[in-house]
Symmetry: C2
Subunit: 330 residues, 2 copies
Amino acid sequence: MTEKPPREGKRPTIADVARAAGVAPAIVSRALSPSRRPVSLEKKERVLKAAAELGYHQNPLARGLATKSIDLVAVIINYLSDLSDLDLFDPLLDAIQSLGKQAILIRVGRTKRIDDFLRNSLSYHVHAALVFSDFADAGEVRALFHSDNVLMLNGRFDAESARIRIDEQSGIDELVRHARGRGVGSAVLVTGRVSSLVEEARIAAYRSACAAAGVRLLSEVGGDYSYGSGVKAAAVIAVAMPEAVFCTSDSMAMGVMDGLARAGRRPPADYLLYGFDAVDKGNFAAYDISSVGFDRSALVAGILAYLGAPEEFPAAGLDIPTRFIARGTG
Amino acid sequence: MTEKPPREGKRPTIADVARAAGVAPAIVSRALSPSRRPVSLEKKERVLKAAAELGYHQNPLARGLATKSIDLVAVIINYLSDLSDLDLFDPLLDAIQSLGKQAILIRVGRTKRIDDFLRNSLSYHVHAALVFSDFADAGEVRALFHSDNVLMLNGRFDAESARIRIDEQSGIDELVRHARGRGVGSAVLVTGRVSSLVEEARIAAYRSACAAAGVRLLSEVGGDYSYGSGVKAAAVIAVAMPEAVFCTSDSMAMGVMDGLARAGRRPPADYLLYGFDAVDKGNFAAYDISSVGFDRSALVAGILAYLGAPEEFPAAGLDIPTRFIARGTG
DNA sequence: CTGAAAGCGCTAACAC
DNA sequence: GTGTTAGCGCTTTCAG
């Protein structure tokens, strides 16, 4: 790292490199461009040498202003709080960076005013936006971003938007059939934040799967995806013990398990327990919870494909299938 | 949202607003600036009205180029994988955004070439960088960033760098004394990635605490902070069962607990088990692990103070004390 | 208080 | 293949 700006205190610019290499600034721009642009080999080498000696680094602000594009991907989430987030976002960050882009993580929390986060922010100019948060539909997001490269992963897509959908119905059907096969006639469903479209669809999937399999849904208990809310739900469930408990997150299932253990009820002996997400990072021996999962690397690969060539992404979107994953509790 | 750019397909610029309001571009710039700059109230109102009608949004790239600053905070981490990361980064993101800034998350993984991620990237021009990853020391990071606002949170600081240090020794001393008080004479230490400076210091703290308290450290078993590595470590530990097991992460402690349970050994009856981090999100009933923790909101508050006014940050850095948190296993 | 003009550092278009 | 020129959209002197 031979840092040696020509003018003290200022970083070298393309003009400095041009001067040092004895060429025009435009030549430097071309020589340093990743795509092959017309420059003689000899000059290119001179430029590269001069740039290295000066410790030159391109100013992405200036480039972004000139090209109207920037290698930044906005990742819009509600929270970073669930165990399953670790499984997903760590490899996702890696994937984004492998493309030479960087991720700007926007956590909208429970506000509905997503544009407050974007007003005058860089986010307007990102290469692409990955929308996991359900607090925005496709139209809103498109209006918010300068970029049209918006990938909806929250279920709130429309005909114009690129999307990846996790097909939860398939895995849920399988799960409920499995429970039925083990003699379950009635069950309780513990839900997450019901205002979410994804959660709404998930709940509907459980209802239809239960109806189809002949499992009676005794009640639905509201939670917030968290372990603590599962523990709370257990208090309600314990009153009229069902044969099975379906939870729309693994964390809640863990909570239910511990909550019901206080009442001396343990799966799978006393009831069958099912989670959702099939998290790796939370697959502890003490909570060996049967669940519904999908291939996360397939999701990341899909996102990667989108980021690499948004225009070639299938117009119909991508569907990632889910499947039932049998573990110890059901 | 009254979007109505004057020229089709292009976002309105400051010039468009100026034209609509019948003033000069400079006036618009001043009127829209957050800091109070000389503009007559009447024109300011005209500008604000015109901007709203046109759906004008400032272009941060252009502003950044002109002002050489941008409201972006780089957060540099190794991985996003531990349970404790959820406890920290969710509130941290919230805090950064509350300042009107956005976070760009840089995951360096196990590469040592951190600058590969930064080369020609926006990161060079961030308002500040928060360095959690230990793959860079203070000097390297300062050289990498255009900004001098680098906050070291990885222990690798020098006299010039702002820093927040988690004082782990205090909590570890307390923990070991606690174990000694319960009759522990010998113990095994399960460590994380030892190439990390923080981990190195943590290990040293355990050694000195054990020496001081009169606890014999039988051996040190290498892990990688993860649950799985804890399970593996248990196989080694089971051979010569110690009176206590100290782990440098809660996740590993959970793994050790499950691994030793296979051999029929359970804490606290058969041995005492201690973790590190005192994660909230992973504080499950089945893993009620005694641990060392610190006030995460104090850390976030410290970071917030730094971001708000880096130059006023105490030159001596900030120390966050840790304390022993007694739970069920020790 | 106002506005013209000069950049910030880079790329794209156009001549040569 | 090369160099010149003209912006990208904004802020900031600096006269008025």
